[in-house]
């Protein structure tokens, strides 16, 4: 590893193609481990702080969905998180042992919640969609289901 310059670009060049993998038990709270790991990886690669925070939230929400809805908190079921740095972006794969997402809402039902005082649904997936540069929620695999996300170093999220 070489010393990073101020924006981390030297480090980023040497780390091209590097991957990390985390295997989590299906227990609420472990999404924080993936979140912090993803944050440390992005920091090492010189990602700006705003993008690191976007990545951390997206990874935490994807893991939370995977362990609660995908694996249904089954003891023994695992969530596998892989992060790969390539071409100034981090690609994230979050794999669970479930059957995939049946319904992907376009927008969180916040308005509905305000009127009916019912908890809004779809907030996690909405956040993932808004904070990442690309997402595929429903890739089936032999062993389960994968959510794929891409966060670019230079991307940005706006409120619109």
């Amino acid at each position: 590893m070489v010393e990073s310059n101020k924006d981390g670009s030297d480090m980023a060049v040497t780390q091209e193609g590097r991957s990390i993998e985390l295997v989590l038990p299906s227990e609420v709270g472990y999404e924080r481990v993936a979140m912090e790991g993803a944050g440390a990886f992005a920091r090492m690669l010189g990602f700006p702080s705003e993008r690191i925070e976007d990545l951390k939230t997206a990874v935490a929400e994807a893991c939370l969905n995977a362990l609660q809805h995908g694996n249904r908190n089954r003891p023994g079921a695992k969530v596998r998180v892989t992060l790969t740095f390539k071409e100034k972006a981090i690609s994230v794969r979050v794999m669970d042992e479930g059957e995939g997402i049946v319904e992907i809402p376009d927008l969180p039902e916040t308005e509905e919640a305000m009127i009916r005082l019912q908890p809004p649904r779809g907030l996690g997936m909405f956040l993932i969609r808004r904070l990442t540069d690309a997402v595929d929620f429903n890739e089936p695999t032999e062993k389960g289901h994968v959510v794929k996300m891409v966060i670019r170093r230079e991307g940005c999220t706006s409120l619109n």
């Binding site: 939370l64 969180p108 916040t110 305000m114 809004p120 956040l127």
Partner: protein
């Protein structure tokens, strides 16, 4: 692994302040809702949710905040939020919490806004 939130309630002239310690996740909704339900809604004109700046919020925690702020709106109480990091200010606006509560940098700004809004909106 996950700590329960401590919520301290402070009564001010313009609003009731909930000082919410800790991260805001699924376990936050019951104490937040219980603290809100204990208020005397005939007297309370404003509600300020004061979070710790290093607090982490996930979608489950955001749901609880939306429910409590929706209840406040039903009771015609003005609401405000403070103590958020730059990232979570963005998240709060993204998920629509900005429609239910003003988001402020400091407690003073939030209380002033609640006082002003009570005067102008009656």
């Amino acid at each position: 692994m996950v700590k329960e939130n401590v919520i301290q309630v402070e009564d001010r002239e313009s609003a009731v302040i909930f000082h919410i310690q800790g991260d805001v996740t699924r376990i936050s909704e019951p104490p937040l809702k219980a603290a809100y339900d204990r208020l005397d809604h005939k007297k309370v004109k404003g509600l300020l949710l004061q979070f710790q700046e290093k607090a982490y919020f996930n979608s489950e925690g955001l749901k609880g905040i939306i429910i409590v702020l929706s209840e406040a709106r039903k009771h015609q109480q003005k609401a405000a939020v403070t103590g958020l990091s730059k990232h979570f200010k963005k998240i709060f606006q993204m998920v629509g919490i900005g429609k239910l509560a003003g988001v402020y940098d400091t407690q003073e700004e939030a209380l002033k806004s609640l006082k002003d809004r009570s005067k102008t909106e009656g």
